[in-house]
């Protein structure tokens, strides 16, 4: 289920570009013009432009925009440092903070009629998840070397036959849980909003779901960031 009206798709259609009408595009160009792609670029441009505009003139005594970003960036920095340590935070802050801010904005943008959440596509959420999953293994191997395998064999050697499959499955399940949780929540929100808009949009039927949508959007962004921090922290820790 898609939004009844998506502004960017309408503009692209007017420009003569092939916007897919189903969930999937068939040609490369159709896939690039898919709403979740175009709205991803919109969110990217929005974040870049807003950051540039609000942080054009940094001052020791901050204005409103600078104050907002200082609270967001400072708060995340402190939270990451508390959970992963200062060294890891300095290294991975741009990645995790970008995910947090991008997911929050991408989730929230879908609440505006005519816009869509890019995170309502599995391609977007899986892309984020793959980066996190690969990075946490890179952290593990770079910290422990080949000894990183100890994270997967359990506390005693005779438990290896039991623990190794469980640990491997649970590790690969992170790929699914991170991506499908975010995708499922946001797609459900988008679908529900789309249906309510079509059925009784004029009677403000989607309003309660939109209020819940704000909560879900922020909570999902927070959950993704929290789990990312936990995975990174675990990869850095010694195996039990």
């Amino acid at each position: 289920m898609e939004h009844p009206i998506l502004f960017i798709s309408i503009i692209l259609e007017k420009l003569g570009l092939p916007v897919p009408h189903g969930p999937v595009g068939h040609t490369i160009l159709e896939q690039l013009c898919a709403p979740y792609m175009t709205y991803t670029w919109l969110v990217m441009a929005f974040l870049f432009v807003v950051s540039k505009l609000t942080l054009g003139n940094l001052e020791m005594i901050p204005g409103k925009g600078q104050n907002f970003w200082e609270i967001v960036v400072g708060g995340m920095d402190e939270f990451f440092a508390d959970n992963m340590g200062r060294e890891m935070t300095d290294k991975f802050f741009p990645m995790i903070a970008t995910f947090g801010i991008y997911i929050a904005v991408a989730n929230l943008i879908g609440l505006i009629p005519g816009f869509m959440s890019p995170t309502a596509s599995i391609n977007t959420t899986l892309a984020l998840t793959i980066i996190v999953w690969v990075t946490h293994h890179v952290i593990g191997f770079s910290t422990h070397g080949i000894g990183y395998y100890k994270h997967f064999i359990g506390p005693m050697w005779w438990l290896i036959p039991l623990m190794l499959p469980i640990e491997l499955i649970s590790n690969f399940a992170r790929l699914l849980s991170l991506s499908i949780r975010l995708f499922g929540n946001i797609m459900a929100k988008e679908t529900l909003l789309g249906i309510l808009f079509m059925l009784a949009g004029a009677f403000f039927a989607p309003l309660p779901i939109m209020i819940l949508g704000v909560l879900v959007s922020l909570v999902q962004a927070m959950v993704f960031v929290l789990l990312t921090v936990v995975y990174f922290g675990q990869a850095k820790e010694h195996a039990h």
């Binding site: 690039l32 792609m37 990217m44 001052e59 960036v73 400072g74 903070a97 991008y102 391609n123 984020l128």
Partner: protein, 141 residues
């Protein structure tokens, strides 16, 4: 709806690009200003500590000077009081001596007068007795 295609890779690239973009325009500047502010506050804390130490030293100095001045004033007061006491004692002694001398002189004078009066009375005693006996007897002796 759950379909994966080439856009998965493009989204990965998008995210990497966004990381670099936001790192450049958002995280680095904000972190830098936060760090600068923290350093400045640290510096101000150092300055405050320096000022507090200076104030403490100045107070100590003032207290020492006050104690010294107070001691000096006390010593001056004590010496002046002792001098005044000595001068007072001396003057009092002189007055006492003078008074004693005056008293002794007057006593001597009175004694002399008593003696002279007594001598005079003694000299007139016989005549006085005759006069009394004549008056009692009613005839001269």
């Amino acid at each position: 709806m759950i379909t994966m295609d080439i856009t998965l890779l493009i989204q990965i690239v998008n995210m990497v690009i966004l990381m670099f973009l936001l790192n450049g325009v958002l995280y680095k500047p904000v972190k830098k200003i936060l760090k600068d502010r923290a350093e400045r506050q640290q510096g101000m804390q150092g300055e405050i500590a320096k000022f507090e130490k200076n104030a403490r030293l100045r107070q100590q100095e003032v207290d020492e000077k006050m104690a010294k001045a107070s001691g000096k004033a006390k010593a001056a007061l004590d010496s002046t009081r002792a001098e005044a006491q000595a001068a007072g004692d001396q003057r009092l002694g002189a007055i006492k001596a003078e008074a004693e001398e005056g008293k002794n002189r007057q006593l001597a004078e009175i004694k002399a007068q008593i003696d002279s009066a007594r001598a005079g009375l003694k000299a007139n005693l016989d005549g006085f007795a005759n006069d009394m006996a004549s008056k009692i007897l009613g005839r001269s002796l």
